[in-house]
């Protein structure tokens, strides 16, 4: 782009080198982009669009090298990729992991999670302690390590990113309660059986020995139509939060014309969720395999992994898995001997919850601000680069492997009629053994809590579905955790987080933090959410200080919730009031101790229900899980 205007600022030699290394073909090392495309060397005006998707990797390289996105560095990236500096600046300022002012230090940055579970576990004193030791500390949202709270992630300055807890070995708890026969579906059984042997998790040989590759073989044998038929017959629905039927999505993309894409959405940033991290760390080859299945089935040549930037170990293992899958011939010009071309590129996010929303993810990957697009059109017709795209959560993808392994009938043998199969639940907070649990859909909440060592102390509330979900009280222990039952009860499973709070928890503090989360994570594009999340947070803060809501405050919170739920562009706005409103209904915003407030609110509700004709419970109005059910 000849006529872009840049300032005089020049990059330092090391900035230049860092960017070039990140953009280099098959550049090695952590942070490098694997680019096999001839695109990189093509010139002309098409170059701008073709290179822009390298913006995020280039910014990552600058941030790591210089500790910030300097004007000279930004100019260099803009010139190299043909991106106007104002736009590149707009992108850089969108993400938590990038800064656009010079840091006053040469340190790596310690990100400390201050979301509810870590707050309960002492995040504030930890941050204070790290600061007193002279570390650079950044307090931010959930880091996806809630089972080992309080969580820390170190964003490296001229050194690789790392998570201190990873050094002490994976101590996460994995529990599966599906029947132990190999004929029933289970994502975790294999991982549990072989323990945490990391060597095995990344070795193709070991993966093959435990049956890896069977799904790919089955897909080649069955052909695209039968694979989709099996996925549909199994009743598989998306595990990323919106629970959209996977078969319908794949069918639509397979039926489309022209180039299409497969995207694994591993942005996992919903507070309370850490399942995708563990899946990628413990079974990365299975994720690559299922992506290859998806690619061959829908006819995509290109697969993409978009993984949140705070997952260094999972990223490293996925990169290793991609390399092994290439060597094994699963990826490449003749993927798995299919005659079709399919390869996978991995891209790291840079700290933005909203980039898990599928269309925001596309924009982010394409090198634009991670702002969601209006739907329709849906990703199945207008996805990544405007082309038909299958986007799936890794848990969904691994379920496809299970369906191909045991067949749709056996798959349906667990779970409920409306929600076949198993679900991964991320248990955190006041339970005996926080960790990752696999249970059939329909397992009662109380049973799940017992499985996790029971509630510590007296249960006050459980937050189902994370920040975008809603609170349920101790009276919900019998609730079967299926899509249909939670929906009927006015709550949601979301992506599977189950955050447990006992009566010692400062609930109004928890709720204030959730409101702050949405205020911080709103992309700011649409008015209802940009301003609504701020007003909601201000109100919740006022209410907390005053010890309870006044009637006008209740009304105003309701008004804000209705507008955000009805008029926002995306699921973030649609669900931003859900936890707050459910908390208000449960009496969790009152000053009295949470236990008493909950008991009183429950009494009041049952009285109200009795008053209503026929005793029909007035089920709280709750919007569908993540708001993009029609994706």
């Amino acid at each position: 782009m000849a006529d872009l205007h840049f300032s005089d600022a020049e990059p330092t030699a090391s900035e230049r080198q860092a960017v070039l290394a990140a953009l280099s073909v098959n550049g090695a090392g952590d942070g490098a982009v694997v680019v096999d495309h001839p695109r990189v060397v093509r010139g002309g005006t098409r170059r701008r669009k073709q290179l822009r998707h390298l913006l995020l990797p280039a910014l990552h390289a600058l941030q790591r090298e210089a500790g910030w996105i300097s004007p000279g560095g930004l100019n260099f990236v803009g010139r190299t990729l043909g991106v106007p500096p104002a736009e590149a600046y707009g992108v850089a300022t969108f993400y938590e992991m990038f800064r656009t002012d010079s840091p006053s230090h040469e340190l790596s940055v310690r990100h400390v999670c201050v979301d509810p579970i870590c707050a309960l576990a002492g995040a504030a004193p930890l941050a204070e302690h790290l600061r007193s030791q002279g570390h650079a500390v950044h307090e931010g949202p959930c880091l996806g390590q809630c089972e080992r709270a309080p969580a820390v992630f170190i964003q490296g300055r001229r050194e690789p990113d790392r998570v201190p807890a990873d050094d002490s070995g994976p101590d996460s708890l994995l529990v599966s309660v599906t029947a132990s026969t190999p004929e029933s579906p289970s994502l975790l059984r294999q991982m549990i059986e072989r323990g945490f042997d990391n060597g095995e998790s990344t070795s193709m040989e070991a993966y093959r020995q435990r049956g890896g590759g069977a799904a790919l073989d089955a897909a080649l044998r069955l052909g695209p139509d039968d694979v989709i038929a099996q996925v549909s017959a199994a009743g598989l629905s998306g595990r990323g939060g919106a629970a959209f039927p996977t078969g319908i999505k794949w069918r639509a993309v397979a039926d489309g014309n022209g180039p299409c894409h497969v995207v694994a959405n591993i942005d996992e940033s919903e507070p309370g969720t850490f399942k995708d991290r563990l899946l990628c760390e413990l079974e990365p080859l299975a994720i690559i395999e299922s992506m290859a299945v998806a690619g061959l089935v829908v006819g995509a040549q290109q697969g993409w992994i978009y993984i949140r930037g705070e997952y260094p170990l999972a990223t490293q293992r996925l990169r290793g898995a991609i390399a092994q899958a290439r060597s094994a011939g699963w990826l490449g010009d003749d993927a798995a001997g299919s005659g079709q071309q399919f390869d996978i590129e991995l891209r790291r996010g840079a700290g933005a919850y909203i980039c898990g929303e599928e269309t925001a993810l596309f924009n982010s990957l394409e090198g634009f601000r991670g702002e969601p697009r209006n739907k329709p059109p849906f990703p199945t017709t207008h996805g990544l680069f405007g082309q038909p795209t299958v986007v799936n959560n890794p848990e969904t993808l691994l379920n496809v492997n299970e369906i191909l392994r045991i067949g749709p009938e056996a798959y349906r043998s667990v779970g409920t009629e409306g929600s076949p199969g198993t679900k991964l639940f991320c248990l955190s907070g006041h339970v005996g053994r926080p960790g990752l649990y696999e249970a059939p859909f329909g397992t009662p909440l109380g049973e799940l809590l017992e499985l996790a060592g029971g509630v510590q102390g007296t249960l006050a509330a459980v937050l189902l579905g994370g920040a975008a979900g809603s609170f349920v009280g101790p009276d919900a222990l019998a609730l079967p955790l299926s899509l249909e039952d939670t929906r009927a009860a006015g709550t949601t499973l979301g992506s599977g987080p189950v955050m447990v709070f006992n009566d010692s928890a400062d609930m109004s503090g928890v709720i204030e933090r959730l409101a702050k989360f949405f205020r911080d994570e709103s992309c700011g594009q649409c008015v209802p959410c940009r301003v609504g999340t701020v007003r909601q947070h201000e109100l919740v803060t006022s209410i907390r200080r005053a010890g309870g809501p006044t009637e006008p405050q209740r009304e105003l919170l309701g008004d804000i919730a209705d507008a955000m739920g009805d008029a926002s562009i995306c699921g973030l706005g649609h669900t931003a009031a859900s936890a707050v409103m459910s908390a208000m209904r449960l009496g969790l915003l009152e000053a009295e101790p949470a236990g008493e407030a909950v008991a009183r609110a429950a009494r009041e509700r049952s009285e109200q229900e009795r008053e209503e004709m026929g005793g029909t419970a007035r089920v709280a109005q709750q919007r569908d899980s993540l708001g993009d059910s029609a994706s």
Binding site: L4, H5, S7, P71, L74, P84, P85, A86, E87, A88, Y89, G90, T93, F94, T100, A352, R369, N374, P376, R519, D520, E521, S522, C523, G524, Q525, C526, V527, P528, R530, V531, G532, T533, V534, R535, E538, L539, T541, S542, R545, A546, T550, E551, P552, Q553, L556, D559, I560, D562, A563, G565, D566, A567, S568, I569, H574, R623, D624, G627, S629
Partner: protein
């Protein structure tokens, strides 16, 4: 565009507030509403820009849709059942206007003010002090309350051509579009930051003369709030002398080059105070370059003499 003569092969019939309307395929619900004589508030939509559907003031209720849908960008489909004045629609429109009023200086956004009155938006709900009697409008403030955060920005005056007062900016993206793909292709400005802190910015907030800006003024022309304002208007307003009712608008053709851009000269007290171009003009689509937009000072030059056409070089 004319609903009276839709192409029969691609005509789409839908229902708006219970009345059947037929419009050509590919049009938006907004266009259908207009055809049906239903007025719709818009902030981020303009006839000469690609819809970004971000302000959400135009939302309507579509039967079968879980949420409201933006009229300005949603294409019509046969059989759609649209309500434009239901309780849900009125609530969301009111809240959008109220949110903006609580966050921005809308004193120079007359259309938004009109719609705010129409829908009964009450931005004061967010800052009235807490009172025990629970009277309406008593909410967030009070001893325990917080001042609602507002977009707080100093006015930026960096040259003689236009000013930027971002405390009025409602982030409608129109200026970004006009500076970018929709007209100017200069890309001098973009949205930076996230959430409530998102702002229109040059890179690193560089002053305009050092940025890529070529002073076409197209961003100013599309701004609905006065956040971007021609210096002439800004200076006249400052002394209370901006009087739109006393202005005449004369259409002419720009004399600088051969493209043939139409100009609208806004004249007050026999002086040009603003130059715009009609959004529906086939050459400009409402957009101009620096010469047509700002190159009129010579008209007011005291000793102005037009060059003789005989001798002027062609």
């Amino acid at each position: 565009m004319n609903p009276a003569e839709p192409n029969t092969q691609t005509a789409v019939t839908l229902s708006i507030d219970g009345r059947e309307v037929t419009v050509p395929e590919g049009q938006t619900i907004l266009a259908a509403c207009t055809a049906a004589g239903v007025e719709t508030p818009t902030i981020c939509w303009a006839p000469n820009l690609t819809p970004v559907n971000v302000c959400r003031v135009c939302v309507v209720e579509l039967e079968g849709s879980r949420t409201l849908v933006p009229a300005c960008s949603r294409p019509v489909e046969a059989g759609m059942q649209i309500s434009t004045d239901s309780e849900r629609v009125r609530h969301s429109r009111r809240m959008v206007l109220e949110f903006l009023g609580s966050a921005n200086d809308l004193s120079q956004a007359s259309e938004i003010a009109d719609w705010s009155r129409h829908y009964g938006a009450d931005p004061a709900r967010y800052d009235a002090p807490c009172s025990d009697d629970g009277s309406p409008g008593s909410t967030a403030g009070g001893e325990a309350g917080l001042e609602p955060e507002r977009v707080d920005e100093p006015v930026r005056i960096q040259d003689d051509l236009y000013i930027r007062a971002y405390d009025r900016c409602v982030l409608c993206y129109k200026c970004v579009e006009a500076c970018g793909d929709d007209a100017q292709h200069t890309f001098a400005i973009a949205v930076a930051g996230r959430g409530f802190d998102a702002r229109i910015r040059t890179e690193y907030d560089t002053e305009l003369p050092e940025s890529a800006c070529v002073y076409c003024g197209n961003c100013v022309a599309v701004c609905p709030t006065g956040a971007l304002q021609f210096r002439t208007e800004f200076d006249l307003r400052a002394v209370g002398e901006w009087r739109p009712d006393d202005q005449t608008v004369t259409r002419t053709v720009c004399s600088y080059c051969g493209v043939g851009c139409n100009l609208e000269l806004h004249v007050q007290d026999e002086r040009i105070v603003k130059v715009t171009s009609p959004a529906d003009h086939s050459v400009t689509n409402g957009h101009l370059c620096i010469k047509g937009r700002f190159g009129w000072e010579y008209v007011h030059a005291p000793a102005f003499e037009p060059p003789s056409t005989d001798t002027a070089e062609r």
